[in-house]
Symmetry: C2
Subunit: 517 residues, 2 copies
């Protein structure tokens, strides 16, 4: 495995027995042996030293140690008789506002041996993060939010470890990536200034934390690494994404786009990085659309329309009868409708283009994707005129943010060698369709690369590559953050992006050509 140098190592030692000519203390004996292997004498906490007097003589000076890469370098987390030899485990966590994903990593091999995905229990206080921030400000709201996520953490650790016949104490390192607000909830830090001008988090750079300090039950000598934030709207999840993409190490210029309610963008290479985040609205995540649902069984995630006979084709997750449209399905749908002339460049439904599917529901024109007899719940699945307006506003905001960022460094989209698309549903977007609606720039498709769960991948890397924390620190120091909320050019440029694909068709030559076909 490339870049494999984990934050926790099991090291077996066959030590020389003590004698009058070598009567070092037990601790010095172990420390010196580890020092010559690690190239640096490790710290040796009292708790770990305490049992050496038993372990060393009884094991005939053959011991297995576990060392961790702590705040000041290596430290001895455990020493035991050689025969006991589980591999050390690490836990990577993608702390999302909707879903929390736990990855159990064998730090001996670097393999992710188990994954557990859980709904974030804080959702009862609001799907929207702002609602939760308001809740945090009431009475002991912050404590409640923290205890909910810590509770989930402990029960999930218990579950994932029990599965493999292990115990929570076998986890020696945790790496956690979440956005700024989620990390503040997690650590019990007041989030109230995150959403108010001038947008001040309590903490941007978290030092290593003892999990026990916040009530997490793993090995008592374990450390928790929480990815830092660059600012209120640029959190550790995105930094983990940068790490996962590797764009900070490459000579070529890349752009990382995290698609969601907030559009988060990073542009740069190994020498420079510019970042920006701005509200794109929840439409892209499907949250507020008439028939928008999460990517769950029965969600339409792929749609196409034959531009000649207007036949609708779709695919649902797990092949279940359709119940709604998830993010990637919605983008597909709008793109297909535009290409098929069912919606005009201003976003208006062309109602007489398909009299069967264009219907009025609640006095609003809609385009029906699936009839009640096809669906799982017996209701039609459709997209409304209002949905389309919302969608265009979101995709327009997204495109404009990308454009402001590239303009800020004086380059064009064609200069970008690679576009990494990340985010809860970003990975499932068909870039071709996103280009058609003018959400992503019109560049060759092979430049797009889905990053999967980039935050999770980055968190895993923080466990398996011990220099990752330093790289993240360097990324933070290198990054220039553009505060989109205060940029005037954003509003000026947004207007042109509120069309399909854009008022300036020279920006989307491939779409122009396709539509004219």
């Amino acid at each position: 495995m490339d870049r494999f140098e984990p934050v926790c190592r099991a090291i077996s030692l066959d030590l020389p027995s003590p004698s009058l000519s070598d009567n070092r203390s037990h601790e010095s004996r172990v420390r010196a042996a580890l020092g010559s292997i690690l190239g640096q004498k490790p710290l040796f906490p009292l708790k770990t030293c305490k049992y050496l007097a038993d372990i060393l003589p009884s094991s005939d000076y053959k011991v297995q140690t576990l060392v961790l890469d702590g705040p000041s370098g290596w430290e001895v987390a455990q020493a035991s008789a050689k025969s006991i030899s589980l591999p050390p485990y690490g836990l990577a966590v993608d702390l999302g506002s909707t879903t929390v994903v736990f990855y159990l990593v064998d730090l001996g091999s670097g393999e992710t041996v188990s994954t557990l995905s859980k709904s974030n229990p804080q959702r009862v206080h609001g799907e929207d993060i702002l609602e939760r921030i308001l809740f945090a400000g009431q009475n002991n709201g912050l404590e409640i939010l923290q205890s909910e996520v810590i509770g989930l953490f402990n029960s999930s650790v218990q579950e994932i470890m029990a599965e493999g016949g292990m115990s929570p104490e076998d986890i020696f390192f945790i790496a956690l990536a979440g956005n700024t607000t989620m990390c503040h909830f997690f650590l019990g830090l007041d989030p109230s200034h995150i959403c108010r001008e001038p947008y001040i988090p309590v903490v941007n750079r978290f030092d290593l934390i003892r999990p026990s300090e916040i009530g997490i039950n793993v090995h008592p000598q374990a450390w928790l690494y929480c990815f830092p934030n660059v600012g209120s709207y640029f959190g550790g999840d995105l930094l983990a994404g940068i790490l996962a993409s590797g764009m900070h190490l490459k000579e070529e210029i890349s752009m990382l786009v995290d698609v969601g309610t907030n559009a988060e963008v990073v542009l740069g290479n190994r020498d420079w990085l510019v970042a920006c985040a701005g509200a794109a609205g929840p439409a892209l995540e499907g949250g507020i659309l008439s028939c928008g649902i999460r990517a769950q069984p029965g969600a339409i995630d792929r749609v196409d329309i034959d531009r000649n006979n207007l036949t609708v084709m779709f695919h649902t997750i797990d092949g279940k009868a359709p119940e709604g449209l998830c993010g990637s399905g919605i983008i597909d749908l709008l793109a297909a409708m535009f290409v098929a002339g069912l919606v005009d460049p201003t976003g208006k439904l062309v109602v007489d283009r398909d009299n069967a599917r264009m219907q009025q529901i609640d006095r609003e024109w809609v385009y029906v994707v699936a009839d009640p007899h096809e669906t799982g719940h017996g209701e039609p699945v459709y997209i409304s005129q209002g949905d389309i307006k919302n969608l265009i506003r979101s995709k327009g905001a997204m495109y404009t943010i990308l454009n402001v960022v590239i303009q800020s460094v004086g380059i064009g989209f064609e200069d970008i060698e690679r576009f990494y698309v990340a985010g809860a549903f970003g990975n499932y977007i068909d870039p071709k369709k996103a280009i058609i609606i003018g959400m992503l720039p019109d560049v060759p498709l092979e430049r797009f690369e889905g990053l999967g769960n980039a935050a999770g991948t980055g968190a895993i890397e923080a466990l398996t590559w011990r220099k990752a924390r330093k790289e993240v620190e360097e990324i933070c120091n290198k990054i220039t953050y553009l505060e989109m909320n205060v940029r005037k050019d954003f509003m000026n440029q947004l207007t042109g992006a509120l069309f399909l694909p854009h008022t300036d068709l020279t920006r989307f030559p491939s779409v122009d050509k396709m539509v004219k076909m």
Copy 2:
């Protein structure tokens, strides 16, 4: 004050208010400001960060911080509104087997503001350290020993802080010097191999410890520094003594002698250090002599005898009626008796030289220093023939150890510019008298310097001079330890030293001259 750079600093900050063009997190704002003052960005523990959201805006961004020199450099231990401003305190501790001395140090000024001396409660399990090691091995003996000293620690901290209207939480750093065994008891480490060949402590180098980990109640972010050991018989108390003497920084060669049941010796300069410890027996401390007592009121600490008329003159501590002889008094007495011809070079009492004072008690010849009618308890204070034999054995061992050490590096006593005399009673010894009995070498008197409570002074320096810990580490790395228990030359040389002052009078020319006068 020379070498004043304390391990804890109070730093007031007047921070720029946040704005859209400077919307760093609270933590980053404080950390950057401290970084530019300290020359290094401090660590910022979660606990300390937590209250920044309250403190910063409410104090208009004027805050007082306390930073500590922790395991990986500076770290923020406290941040508060500017108006709250106690100086940070440190606690230096000389953890002796008999007496534990606490020094409260104002780390703003470096002054020791209060001293508290307490009897070590472990004494109920034996005055002798070996008895306590045996006790530690029985049932939960170690736990008992540890809880006794920790209990004393907490009550003493309470007492010393309450005196000044402060609380234990105002203590931010502890530096503790004790011998290897005392430190093992204190930290709950198994001492059983310290006293058995090949004499293996569990730990020689202690990393910084959280006081709370061993049940000590001070500030939750405080650190405890425990002076390291070089070996079982060469502990942190002596390392603190070296630090206090400054011999490790000088070009000239010095010798540090710690006089006690164990004779501990260090020889060297800034380039090299040789150390040795060996049993001298308890006679020098007065512990086993017929009328030996501790240095307490009523103890005879100074004695002289007119060599012509044999008049005895003595001084007692606090001027109270005599009740016994403490260490310095015993050495004075033997020296005066030898010069006055009351004891011959082989250590035999010359019983017909003073028929009044030479008496038989319990069928043994004794020399009476104070008659029953002069003493506080109505019993005579005397020294017996057996006492003298014991004393000579102890002083002979001491001298031989010094001699073995200087021979090991191929120099003579005359090459040593300075003799530091330390130890519980070492500081009170009159070097002139110690030379007469052949305990200390016959060099010009001005070369001797009492070090006072060297362990305590060294512990204080570890608080007021933050590079001290690094210096101690360097001393440990530089020191060559001679295991006296395995040296054959010791026994060979001891024989000659079992005379007053020595069989070889050319070694003690000033004594030879005086006796011949």
